[in-house]
């Protein structure tokens, strides 16, 4: 099962593959390295998604699903109220991602033999390192971030999370990838805890993945 993942770094993407495999209970496969996307952070993610969806739909037709996970940083946290019709919040990254995906998918023409591309979208609050420290840093979860939106803005908090996860604020890509995979492999053992502490950001991703119609 080939899955295209778009996140903020190759390290995060490696971890997301592990988490998705854990949610599905089966192995997944990334798309070919030469075809993997890389963006310059949040606004660029929104800009490339339409092109990527078209590429996956029309050309990389053996790709089963597309998963996008971005850091929430200091953006408004996604909440269940946003799920109601008309409840989308303009600056909520999850809402924005869903809107751009839905709009693009509506523009795609059917391709004979191409099953609908499955989608999963999540946001990490305030950054994906918080997931890796799930349960270990009691003050870093969606509820505390909701109560204190400054957490997502604060370089200190973001760098502190990096120190906890990687042992340094400046992890090399190799180290970051290794630790991200290790952390994700641990999280797979307790996905329900991750979902309870990050019910909207990770929870959204998990719910999307569980809705995939597995062939």
């Amino acid at each position: 099962m080939k899955i295209a993942v778009l996140s903020e770094s190759p390290a995060d993407e490696a971890a997301i593959h592990v988490l998705i495999a854990g949610l599905l209970g089966r192995q997944t496969q990334p798309i070919e390295p030469s075809r993997q996307l890389r963006t310059r952070g949040w606004p660029a993610v929104l800009q490339v998604i339409p092109a990527e969806l078209k590429r996956l739909h029309y050309y990389l037709t053996d790709t089963y699903a597309f998963a996008v996970v971005v850091d929430a940083d200091n953006s408004p946290l996604h909440q269940s109220a946003h799920e109601a019709p008309g409840g989308e919040v303009a600056k909520c990254r999850l809402c924005q991602l869903r809107q751009v995906v839905a709009k693009t998918q509506n523009q795609l023409s059917p391709v004979p033999g191409r099953a609908p591309l499955q989608i999963a979208i999540g946001t990490a609050v305030p950054s994906i390192e918080a997931w890796y420290r799930c349960g270990l840093e009691p003050h870093i979860n969606e509820i505390t971030c909701l109560q204190n939106p400054q957490i997502g803005l604060d370089f200190h908090t973001r760098n502190q999370l990096k120190r906890y996860v990687y042992g340094t604020e400046r992890p090399s890509l190799t180290l970051a990838t290794q630790r991200a995979i290790e952390a994700a492999q641990c999280l797979v053992q307790s996905l329900s805890v991750l979902e309870s502490l990050f019910p909207n950001g990770f929870g959204a991703l998990a719910r999307d993945v569980r809705c995939w119609t597995l062939g």
């Binding site: 770094s9 952070g41 606004p43 200091n74 973001r158 990096k162 042992g167 992890p171 890509l173």
Partner: protein
Amino acid sequence: MIELMKFRNFKVLRDTQLPLSRFTLIVGPNGSGKSTAMQALRFVAQPGPFQFTQVATLGLLPTTTETVEVVLRWGVPHEGVVTTTHWGSGGWSRSHAKCSGANLSEREEQSLYMKLAGIRIYSLHTNAIAAPVGLSPNPELREDGGAFAGVLDQLRDREPERFEALNEELGRWLPEFDRILFDTPSSGHRAFLLRTRKGRHALPATDLSQGTLLALTILTLAYLPDPPPIVCLEEPDRGIHPRLLRHVQDALYRLSYPESVGEVRQPVQVLATTHSPYFLDLFKDHPEEIVIAHKVGQEARFERLSDQPAIAEMLGEAPLGEIWYSGILGGVPVES
């Protein structure tokens, strides 16, 4: 480590100061004093050969009242020490002093001298990097990248584990290659080649792309067992694909923060310049490492990004490089 450089009448740096960290990245328009600040380090290390007119702001005459001055304020392990270099009508002078007024020990003086003598300002040229090198006992990477084959050869012979780690890292940076090989193109000369992962063909250095040569040189610098104490790098992103810049950042951090990769050696103070928004993007979480060079008329001044008010709010969601390119942070050319 040098914590601060202060300039008076030094070329375009008429009256400004440059705050430095273990790693500092300076961005700014052409002619905004980025390279001049690096050059000042060379002049402080070896003030003798330079005349007043070579270091002074254009049009400045060596009168008794106007002198050129570069001051270095040192941090760990030389806290409280200041090195002052003057050029004036009577020639030059350089002195080290403690802010407390206490005298420096001979050992401290020696240590500072070694630091200054060890400053290297790399402006890499691919022809120099690729050129075969005459064998010598202790080859050192020249500031243009010359003697590179000799440095690699020595690393292989004296530090085989490091050389292996370098090969592994090369494979991560440039997956099409898996190994550095050597050749003897003529008696007493050494050249290097890269072996392709597929087909195991050996490509001579002279046939490698410019970006490959530049990337390999920066990578190797980070794997040297005893790198220079202070490294200045002009545009380490030059010629390198934007997607590889994360690796370049890793290499520079390996020099400055050796403990983060388990290296047991003194940190190297790294000072680099860039014009690449893509490279700048990578430092968004460390605004204290970014210095914006502003060009104001014929003068230039520096400002640490983290000293700009409300910088986190200003950066918001956008990539740091984009915000810099837009001009919001300053440090961009004036358009006519």
